[in-house]
Symmetry: C2
Subunit: 473 residues, 2 copies
């Protein structure tokens, strides 16, 4: 196993070289974070379909428990139970628009992961960096449990647990626990834990900061220990259910998957769940006793329990929805934690937008009206007033706007319309509007996928490393 | 699935081009022989260990249910539930001795399979063709159920069900059902079903022919139908037991595997079986209620039921042993079928050699003494006299010798010593003599192996073909 030890130290050094400014040593956080025996225990797997260009390259890497779809090259990296989902990579022949530029693409985009250590991380979407439009690059980077790297090239970064970087090119940054950053570009910055920050050039700027005691309860991460708190307890408590589906090669399909829908065989589906047409359930999603309306989706690391999603709902990567009733087109952002109880249900009206990294953890029944934007921490009906705004009201804002701990500056209409436009785009990409013959999306293109299982060297100096593997059409 | 159809027709044409002389059309035998849905249903798998040089290349191929170990390239071929076991390939730096030549090898040997269709075929050992010592070539060839291609380059051949070609380079030959040929080299020949033929240059020549009515009962093969008879009924009747072990990714290890032994996780092990140290059980072996003594082995497609193997027993690929007691170092050759019953047990004394393709199917208890050579068909104790000879007696033969349907010519001592030497070599290669630190063999080197599962395109024109895959260290 010597090579695997050397690989980890190599990665730590590469990241630390990048993080001289801000000065940050990732070593104490990641050494021992995943026990060595875990890194050699799990197979990796990749999907093959006729719809996704095929070009896998893996070398000098440990890929334990990780999943790959679409063009992806991994070298000198450790990927532990991570999802590298390249089903939204750009294609040769497309035009990539970035501000004034129209950049023609002459090859299919590839995800390139190098000198990095990703733990239970989701990688999805495509590169939004106009400098490398055909490469979605993750390099010299450590990311920890349930981080989302979404449409974001990251170089020389540390991502704390449950953090999300979204449509943002990051260079030499330290992203704290549960940070959500969608800010275009960021260099040599350290974002404190609990920051929720959306910025679009000079158009608008949205910020909210979860308080230290909220972070202490829900997600804390000290060096030398794994992440702790309610978020970790929640997912760890349901780990066993995933064991069975990973142990079996060809699982019986979930019965009665309706037309246009796809339920990934690496998702956990528990009793009394009903799917409607065009539903998309990704690998590592967990659905129990829930009703998912037409075109609703559940992405990687989503948990939907005892809930009803009326239809066209987007549940972004890592979001949890428990004992809740969601109207049509309710959007629940990355890593949000929405927890009602049997006696204190959560109701969210149609077309409302739950900001990424929102915590709704109820001690009484709560209703959020339709067409609202919601953020922060909500426990009671009274909390709603300070943590939401009607979309129409926000759209009328020009200049600074403040509500509770939320600060907004710039053009409210651009913010609201940008969000709504993005939700429509996600629904289209997921295939929520598939009509039986046109408007295909992920749900339809994932219906018939074959999975391939690869394993590391079982013994010797190379133990834990995977052989070099190249896969082409 | 268009490409897969085209591939089969391409292979048929290539084989037929080779078989102009003898004129033979493989098409009617292989079209429809394996239903298309079977060819797209099963995953293929390959093993990775630190002991076997790693170099897999698969392209334009269907590999459904097949297994690979060691360096192997497969292109434009269909391999259905076949075992390509390259754990005896020659290594760079070795000297390959062939008659007067000492040929230095400058690269690791590779199995190359091209334009061929192998059905439930075993490929093992290494090339004995001095013209291509670094390549074990199978090209323009069709082989059918339970054929063994053992140390034999084959080009332009058709191999009938349960046939074995052993240490023989074959060009443009038709090998009938249940033929065993170990003859060095053979070109443009058609060997009738049931032939058992061992020839070593001018040194010796052993022949036996199973009668047409024996072939009719045990293994017949007509074009347009799958093979039929007692052999097929026997294996088909136990097919279900293999289903479970192929369905699970990581099977619980068989408990109490003793030191130095290995039991492949793709073998079926049924209750009341006991293994002793240095036992080797290969994938697709089936063991039930049996005792396997020190260093005993069971190769691919072996079935050992209700039997006791005293130790250092070699059970060659495809041999079946039912209700039998075998003394030490009893050798049971390829595809032999030894069937006692609870009331009519078979007993074979130590050091006896059961020739490949021998049928012992008892209607009364039968004992074969120690140090005998056995062949042909034995049903009763009386049959033994005409179908066996003491090894010492055979070793004294110079010139022609005949017993029952067996004809021998040449030097008996060379034949007996050659056989004994080969058995010792097999035991060594299998690791039967491992003493805890030295004399490693397959049993020890297969103890810790990781399996990788690959699947074909699930849809579209490429359905059933596997993507191009390259695997290196």
């Amino acid at each position: 196993m010597e090579r695997l030890h050397e690989l980890l130290e190599r990665i730590i050094q590469r990241v630390n070289v990048n993080l001289r400014e801000p000065l940050f040593d990732v070593g104490p956080y990641v050494r021992g974070l995943v026990p060595w025996q875990q890194l050699v225990k799990f197979y990796a797997f990749y999907g093959i379909t006729p719809y996704h260009p095929l070009d896998f390259h893996f070398s000098r890497a440990n890929l334990s428990g990780s999943y790959f779809l679409g063009r992806c090259h991994v070298t000198d990296a450790i990927l532990y139970k991570s999802d590298i989902r390249g089903d939204e990579l750009k294609r040769s022949g497309e035009i990539f628009k970035y501000e004034g530029f129209e950049i023609p693409l002459t090859e299919d985009e590839t995800i390139r992961i190098k000198d990095s250590y990703l733990i239970k991380t989701l990688v999805h979407n495509n590169s939004h960096d106009p400098e490398t439009p055909e490469e979605f690059i993750i390099q010299n980077t450590v990311s920890t449990h349930y981080a989302n790297i979404h449409g974001s090239d990251v170089e020389g970064c540390f991502l704390g647990p449950f953090s999300t970087v979204d449509l943002t090119a990051l260079h030499d940054c330290v992203i704290g626990n549960f940070v959500y950053a969608q800010v275009g570009e960021l260099s040599h910055r350290q974002l404190p834990a609990g920051t929720v920050w959306v910025r679009n050039g000079n158009h608008f700027d949205f910020t909210y900061h979860h308080s230290p005691d909220v972070l202490q309860r829900y997600i804390r991460f000290d060096s030398g220990k794994p992440p702790e708190g309610i978020f970790m307890d929640f997912v760890e408590g349901r780990k066993e259910d995933f064991q069975r589906i990973f142990d079996v090669v060809n699982l019986e399909s979930f019965p009665n998957v309706p037309e246009g829908a796809s339920v990934n065989r690496y998702a956990v589906i528990k009793p009394k769940t009903q799917f409607n047409k065009n539903v998309l359930v990704a690998q590592r999603a967990y659905i129990e006793n829930s009703w998912m309306g037409i075109g609703a989706n559940a992405q990687e690391n989503c948990y939907i329990l005892h809930s009803r999603l009326s239809g066209y709902n987007v549940t972004a990567h890592g979001a949890k929805i428990i004992h809740a009733d969601l109207g049509e087109k309710v959007f629940v952002g990355f890593n949000s934690f929405l927890q009602g109880t049997p006696d204190h249900r959560l109701t969210i009206g149609a077309n409302s937008i739950v900001m990424p990294h929102t915590i709704i953890d109820l001690s009484e029944p709560v209703t959020i009206p339709e067409e609202h934007l919601v953020w922060g921490l909500i426990r009671t009906q009274d909390d709603v007033a300070d943590h939401s705004v009607p979309l129409a009201e926000l759209a009328s804002v020009e200049g600074p706007f403040q509500r509770g701990g939320m600060r907004f500056a710039g053009n409210g209409r651009l913010f609201v319309e940008g969000f709504q436009h993005r939700i429509e785009h996600i629904l289209e990409a997921n295939g929520a509007y598939f009509d039986g013959s046109s408007q295909h999306g992920h749900a339809q293109q994932s219906q018939n996928i074959s999975f391939n299982l690869i394993q590391p060297y079982p013994e010797g100096a190379l133990k834990g490393l995977f052989p070099t593997i190249d896969i082409h059409p």
